[in-house]
Amino acid sequence: MNEQNITEALRTENIEIDLLITAIKRKIGYDLSGYARASIKRRIAQLVIDENVSCIADLIPKLLYSPQCQANFINSLTVNVSELFRHPVSFLSLRKSVLPYLASFPRRDIWIAGCATGEEAYSMAILLEEVGLLNKTQIHATDINTEVLKQAKTGILTKGLNKEDAARYQASGGTSSLSNYFSTAYNKHKLSQHLLDHISFSHHNILQDKVFCSAQLVMCRNVMIYFDLKTQDSALALFHNSLVQNGYLVIGEKESLFNSSLNSLLVTTDEPAKIYQRKSSDNA
């Protein structure tokens, strides 16, 4: 193919992507138009391979006429990966600077938005257990993806427990041994039931649903990287609305509030740890 044909093929492909996104929105109500283009494009390309079709447009009839494809498509396009104690610097700072403040509340609600296969929520439960705050704390873990939620609810680690997990746990200030929080059977590691009992897993779409709960702490990491700037802004507004006054927001290691209009409504608690605090209304 010569260069001109390539440019034309690229143009056609972009039309196909727009049409697929429109079809998904109209058929199943999920609006993916605010996703960052480059990464959603790569996921769509993967879907073309997995579904064994010749072009993106061929995904559209499948989407329209097969209920099974509808669920499968949305789950493939929105799947996020996670790991225990990801970005330990952040967990260490939560332990030292944020949880002592949360201890002053009689009851606590923590919202993990975009919980993927549950590791972030499990890590939070372990952390709370170690500082004696698990009792009277409810962790609300939500995701758009029904497939990962099903997995997360089981408490079973998808990738098992390895040396790297233990190292991140230690770097997070862990005071015990990570394996103490999991029971092992048939080579699978399952989070202890008394920890799992403090986590509820629910379906929630950050881009379209309302505030999930009122929370002292909202954690949403490596989810907004998949959104464009405008969509990141609405997600941040949702999290801000969810927070009680002086409540804390935690975002991903490489995410930033710098481009957001919400920047002025949040105070930086710990920049390397990506922890911010909602200003109370009297000093807003």
């Binding site: 260069e3 390539i6 690229l10 960052a36 790569r42 990966v81 490489k254 930033s256």
Partner: protein, 191 residues
């Protein structure tokens, strides 16, 4: 005329050629340089600092949706795939690894090819992996320039060799020749 944009991918043995290339560039070098290096290519996460000390340009580790500023070298953070989102910004993802790597060179080159077309200059350096060849082919198809470090100048020649055998290289050059070529393009760009 829109500016050329330079994308460099390296793996094992690529730090030395990267330093050779970057240290030859003046502080007012006009072309934006974006760098993906596999974790096997450097032993520290502090690569931006290591590079900054050896070159005249500002070196930044990319954050999500980072806006591009002139006279700057942008480095992909470890653990994330790096995409060119549009001519002015980047985006990141934690999608599954490619060629056992995240960041993967193919991911950067593929997105750069589509955004920059003829203005894309992609450079593949030393490494023990097959990453980069597919991305270079895409850059080439979109009319961009593809450069592969010559296997004899590479500490580990598997990655350059693989790209050359796949017909992905427009030019095969040593690190010093790559520096000269970039300086030439910088002059063309300044006209």
């Amino acid at each position: 005329m829109p500016s050329f944009s330079v994308f460099i991918g390296g793996s094992a043995g690529s730090i030395s050629p990267i330093i050779t290339i970057l240290s030859s560039l003046p502080a007012d070098f006009k072309l934006i340089i974006t760098l993906v290096v596999h974790s096997s290519g450097c032993d520290k996460t502090s690569m931006p600092e290591a590079l900054a000390s050896s070159c005249a340009l500002t070196v930044i580790e990319i954050s999500d949706k980072e806006r591009v500023k002139p006279n700057t070298i942008y480095v992909a953070p470890g653990g994330y795939h790096l995409y060119v989102e549009n001519e002015n910004s980047y985006s990141l993802s934690v999608d599954k690894k490619e060629h056992y790597s995240r960041p993967a060179i193919d991911v950067l080159f593929n997105s750069a090819a589509e955004v920059f077309g003829r203005q894309c200059i992609a450079i593949l350096l030393s490494g023990a992996n097959e990453d980069g060849a597919e991305g270079l082919l895409n850059v080439k198809r979109h009319g961009g320039l593809t450069i592969v470090q010559s296997p004899e100048s590479s500490q580990v020649s598997i990655m350059p060799q693989n790209a050359i055998e796949n017909g992905a290289a427009t030019k095969v050059l040593s690190p010093i020749e790559i520096s000269r070529l970039l300086l030439n393009y910088n002059d063309i760009n300044s006209l």
